[in-house]
Symmetry: C2
Subunit: 412 residues, 2 copies
């Protein structure tokens, strides 16, 4: 039926539909409380001002905003990006920033520049779902490194690197979301940040720090980025306006050492010629003219309230044996079911009970995560979150009773 | 100096800065008449209406426009894209369209889906400069097929395919810009379109028809696309709003057979998650609410006047022995210098005389094009084009005198 069967690249064989995305169509039905998506609550933005800002931008600089731009991105925006990164302790100049189509494209360009088929990329266990697809699309072998409530475990990282070195494997990158991790919600402690950097230096592995959630902290000030204070090129930092402003603009960036930056710019040019000048200038004007630190505070308070609603509902409705993380920022709680329960097998019953989540297996390249669920609190209001978790609690309780009655293998 | 030397992928070695882009910084100096760029004249757009349309869009659908979208692209926009393609005789449904970051990204995703290192991609001689970079970035071997005033030469295509088949090479794609070609300005005749399709069917090679300029025809109605009437999956069609609306929106598309489309959607997802919903909806609203066919006519008349100015100036100022194409649409004239002159070596002298062009070598992967220049008439007004060509005529005349005096090898 497919006239081009047998014509596809070998990398195309690794391109498979994400179970997470397939789920979103079902989860978006109105009767279902979706704890599945990672969509920010953009309705909290000052939409009238954003619309007005766009009209003014086109009126004043339309012929620039609608024209081709440079592959590296608008200089004015890159300068403002440096101001944003300064909030997390990063001292950088606009010449080392490459603007990308969300930080997702930065990840894709990094994989393109670094990964040959068979190279190893280290990722957290669990890790960001689309990072798995991206690295797999470049035929990397993904090796998971465990994390706990304080983030990536340095001892496990060192052991994995030692094992891979002994086996003669080429390890190109450590991909990490150290702050308010997606999906686990945990944050790498300050002491561990230093340890992870030191281990990666020792094994000569580039650290890719993906930090879309860092500014969305619920207690005090943002923690310093891993890139803060690092001047030897050990870290490529990825940032995004998708969570602090709007994902529909698709504006993210990479901060990279000069030689890596040069290659990212070349890769960006062949990937898309140039980014949308319009959306870049919308972000630049928003940062220049709107009280955006106040807007970030609005988001922090909004998401903190929703996180609190989720944690309270979990405590109220989950049966004994279920555990979960307590995120200090970001969008996600990571829950673990008692031994013998399978979050993926349970999903149809949860959908039947009108609540959706993402099964943990989506966040592993190696079949792990069967006992896990990602629960997001970013989009639904607090009362819907409470209702959704209550429904989920009933489903888990019923599963647990079944498993107790029929034995632990019953739901596998 | 580069801590990651030795860590890059083997494909990264093929990423080199385009001489065309490096030239643009110089060519943008105000005293220089630039016949180098391919930037459309966006100032002819109704900027006030576009700005107003954006403000209304955010007011009415801001929470959608600023949110994540689907990897395939907005359905409403894909429906309108089908209406645009119908103008060139294509009968297609929105389910087979994938919206991309300009047609450049469509090209990148196609290469990703089809090209393994060492596979052959056939391209015209000359071909679009960034297509060379994109295919090279996936480690394809590019093989040029000659064109003449009626476009790609079918006999040469069949011979090349026969030769490659005999050598056991895998030929994955024929990449062609059949209408108002970039850089040559020529159009594939109707008879040849059928021949090219037939040859590619015989050799089982997918045709990638890149058609950013088709609607910008100067005489009568647009010619039917190669994809028009083709229902067996032989052609993937790439379109763009960069030349008929605005490149700063970065909205292009691919129309592909279902199995290819599915892979393009997966590749798009891992490349960028989703395209900007904002810029997609801006295009959709523009098409829905503005008299855009009238705007396309404005562009046609504008570019026809500039093409006429360029052809008249070439006839008036070029010394005997220089030849050039006579485009019936699009942005570019392709000129050929008399034997012994070298367009790349001549460029510094042209810049000194305050006129810029793109040397032909940028449009070849094999070192060809030394006698050629791409002259674009899209951006400068007619009087500046005439002035620029007059300056260029003096430079060529002086070069020719030098070559006559000191021998044909003198400028090499």
């Amino acid at each position: 039926m497919d006239p081009w069967h047998g014509h596809y690249s070998s990398r195309a064989a690794g391109m498979v539909a994400s179970e997470v995305r397939a789920l979103f169509a079902v989860a978006s039905r109105p009767e279902i409380v979706s704890l599945a998506g990672g969509m920010p609550y953009v309705s909290a933005l000052p939409l009238d001002q954003v619309g007005q800002l766009m009209a003014e931008l086109i009126g004043q600089r339309g012929a620039v905003a609608l024209q081709y731009g440079s592959a590296q991105g608008d200089l004015g925006l890159r300068e403002r990006i440096c101001e944003v990164m300064a909030l997390e302790g990063i001292d950088a100049g606009p010449e080392d920033v490459v603007v990308t189509v969300g930080s997702q494209q930065a990840l894709d360009l990094l994989a393109r520049v670094f990964v040959d088929p068979g190279d190893v990329v280290l990722v957290e266990a669990p890790t960001y779902v689309t990072a798995i697809a991206t690295f797999a699309g470049y035929q990397a072998e993904l090796v998971h490194v465990p994390l706990d409530d304080s983030g990536l475990v340095p001892q496990a990282l060192a052991e994995a690197l030692g094992r891979l070195a002994a086996a003669g494997r080429k390890v190109k990158l450590l991909y990490t979301v150290p702050t308010f991790q997606n999906p686990a919600g945990v944050t790498l402690s300050a002491a561990r940040r230093a340890e992870v950097l030191e281990i990666c230096r020792r094994f000569n592995v580039l650290v890719v720090e993906d930090n879309p959630y860092g500014l969305l902290c619920f207690d005090g000030e943002p923690v310093p980025a891993m890139r803060a204070g690092v001047t030897d090129g050990q870290v490529v930092y990825l940032g995004s306006f998708s969570k602090t402003l709007a994902p529909g603009l698709r504006v993210g960036w990479a901060l990279a050492p000069p030689a890596v930056r040069d290659r990212l710019v070349l890769a960006a040019e062949s990937a898309m010629l140039s980014h949308s000048v319009l959306t870049q200038l919308v972000v630049e004007r928003y940062l220049a003219t709107q009280p955006w630190p106040e807007q970030v505070k609005v988001f922090r308070e909004l998401y903190r309230e929703r996180r609190d609603a989720m944690l309270a509902a979990l405590a109220a409705h989950m049966p004994a044996g279920v555990t979960w993380t307590r995120p200090a920022g970001g969008f996600f709680v990571w829950a673990t079911l008692p031994d013998g329960l399978d979050a993926k097998a349970m999903l149809p019953r949860a959908i039947g009970a009108r609540v959706a989540y993402v099964p943990g297996t989506g966040f592993f390249a190696d079949g792990g995560g069967r006992a896990n669920l990602r629960l997001s609190y970013c989009l639904p209001p607090a009362d819907r979150i409470a209702e959704g978790v209550a429904r989920l609690g009933e489903v888990v309780t019923a599963e647990l009773e079944l498993a107790t009655t029929f034995g632990r293998g019953g739901t596998r």
